[in-house]
């Protein structure tokens, strides 16, 4: 068998052809283009609509200020999307840290069952997210029980649909760390949510009959 050909790494071109170099003068467009995405991310990270909106506003202000201090060269090399995710995550972290100094989930890393025990008093409540059905509420709640670094990895991977290298860039972590965090997050979620979550049962079939 011939050795598997790996995709050549894409050159990390900062922008598509014809796309403008980000600047404070085009900032309104940047806000239009990214506000929805960043809001979704902040909402999953905090579980609270008001927090998410404030985080997004704060993140854009920081981005605006930072852009104003960059040279043309720095701005033309800037990869806008991961950079904006990183800023949003930093704002989220600061905010959550100041809101609740004791993060119950941190100690639970080595012991996923601790998360289950904590689940009734878990930190941010997804109460403001519209509950579409019971399973959505369960999944939202479980995600919020993850320690923040695992929640960030899982949110970026599965909800934001980012690749491992992109997540590594956003979190400033090695790819190996990202992979292991994503995996740990999924394992903990599986412990919290049980084996049946997300598996669509055919009409009338008992869940355990699935394989």
């Amino acid at each position: 068998m011939p050795p598997a050909v790996q995709q050549p790494p894409q050159p990390p071109s900062a922008r598509k052809a014809g796309e403008a170099v980000p600047s404070v003068d085009t900032f309104d467009h940047i806000v239009d283009d990214y506000q929805r995405r960043l809001y979704g991310f902040a909402l999953r990270m905090t579980g609270n609509r008001e927090d998410a909106e404030e985080i997004v506003q704060d993140a854009f202000v920081r981005a605006y200020r930072a852009l104003g201090k960059m040279s043309l060269e720095q701005r033309s090399e800037l990869r806008l999307q991961p950079w904006l995710y990183t800023i949003t995550l930093n704002v989220t972290r600061n905010r959550l840290r100041s809101k609740r100094p004791a993060n119950v989930a941190l100690d639970a890393l080595a012991d996923p069952d601790a998360l289950l025990r904590e689940s009734n008093e878990g930190p941010p409540r997804p109460e403001t997210i519209v509950e579409q059905n019971a399973e959505v509420a369960l999944v939202e709640k479980a995600l919020l029980q993850l320690p923040m670094h695992l929640r960030a990895a899982a949110t970026l991977r599965f909800i934001e649909g980012r690749s491992h290298p992109e997540i590594a860039e956003i979190l400033h972590q090695p790819i190996g760390t990202v992979k292991s965090h994503v995996h740990r997050a999924v394992r903990i979620l599986r412990r919290i949510l049980g084996p049946q979550i997300g598996r669509i049962a055919p009409e009338g079939a008992p869940l355990h009959a699935l394989s």
């Binding site: 506003q57 605006y64 997210i129 959505v136």
Partner: protein, 244 residues
């Protein structure tokens, strides 16, 4: 391939992994029902995350952000630099300050105030108005002419480019009474080949004295050049205690 390895490869197999890894994992799964079960459960988790609803922000979020940015923009542009004249041990200086930080220092060479004012406006891209020297400014300068050092928190180089800021900060690390070369500054900021560009930054230094471009000399130790003349450069260094 062992179960543990297969477990850890789950997310990779879904995305970018080599065909050979994919094949090995598939082969393992076919022969190992527990791993197959685990993969299905992981898939269930991934699926339930992927299919979470994606609520939209309130419809005026973008508008709020854009308005907020616009108000910052107005405020930033409007903050003027107040330009004043101060008598010091080395003669009269023009000093510009913005809020409570010094943003401009130049020797009064007899150039009319209006000429200096409009030059600074262009250089720092900010309105410049005339005003009185507040107490903190006099005290800061008094202290500077005693210690030949200035606290980082009372100077403002925000309007300069990152390269200019880095070069000036590096120059500020040269102790009073000592000199370093342009290439020393260049290598301090990780741009060892940019000695010439450093020279240009020093020539355009809007905070003369406080950011001590007078302590930067050429590689032979010659004073080389100074915006206010070589005589002034030599005088400043002598006052600081330079014995070169």
């Amino acid at each position: 391939m062992r179960c543990r390895e297969v477990d850890e490869l789950w997310d990779e197999v879904r995305g970018a992994c080599t065909a050979s890894v994919k094949e090995a994992v598939t082969a393992h799964l076919e022969a190992c029902p527990p791993c197959q079960q685990l993969y299905e459960e992981y898939e269930g988790i991934a699926y339930s995350l992927e299919s979470l609803p994606q609520p939209a922000p309130s419809c005026d979020l973008a508008k709020k952000v854009v308005e907020h940015i616009a108000s910052i923009r107005r405020k930033d542009r409007a903050t003027p630099i107040v330009l004043t004249s101060v008598q010091t041990p080395i003669g009269k200086l023009y000093v510009g300050f913005k809020e409570s930080r010094i943003a401009y220092v130049g020797v009064d060479t007899g150039e009319p105030f209006e000429g200096v004012r409009s030059r600074i406006e262009v250089r720092l891209r900010r309105p410049v108005v005339s005003g009185e020297a507040p107490l903190w400014l006099r005290q800061t300068l008094d202290q500077f002419f005693t210690t030949w050092r200035v606290d980082d928190t009372v100077v403002d180089i925000e309007d300069l480019t990152p390269f200019e800021q880095a070069a000036l900060r590096a120059a500020a690390m040269i102790p009073p009474g000592e000199v370093r070369s342009y290439s020393w500054v260049a290598s301090q900021i990780g741009r060892p080949r940019a000695a010439r560009a450093v020279g240009q930054v020093m020539a355009r230094n809007p905070l003369a004295l406080l950011f001590p471009c007078h302590r930067v000399v050429d590689s032979q130790g010659d004073l080389h050049n100074y915006g206010y003349g070589l005589e002034m450069k030599a005088r400043l260094l002598k006052l600081e205690g330079y014995r070169g």
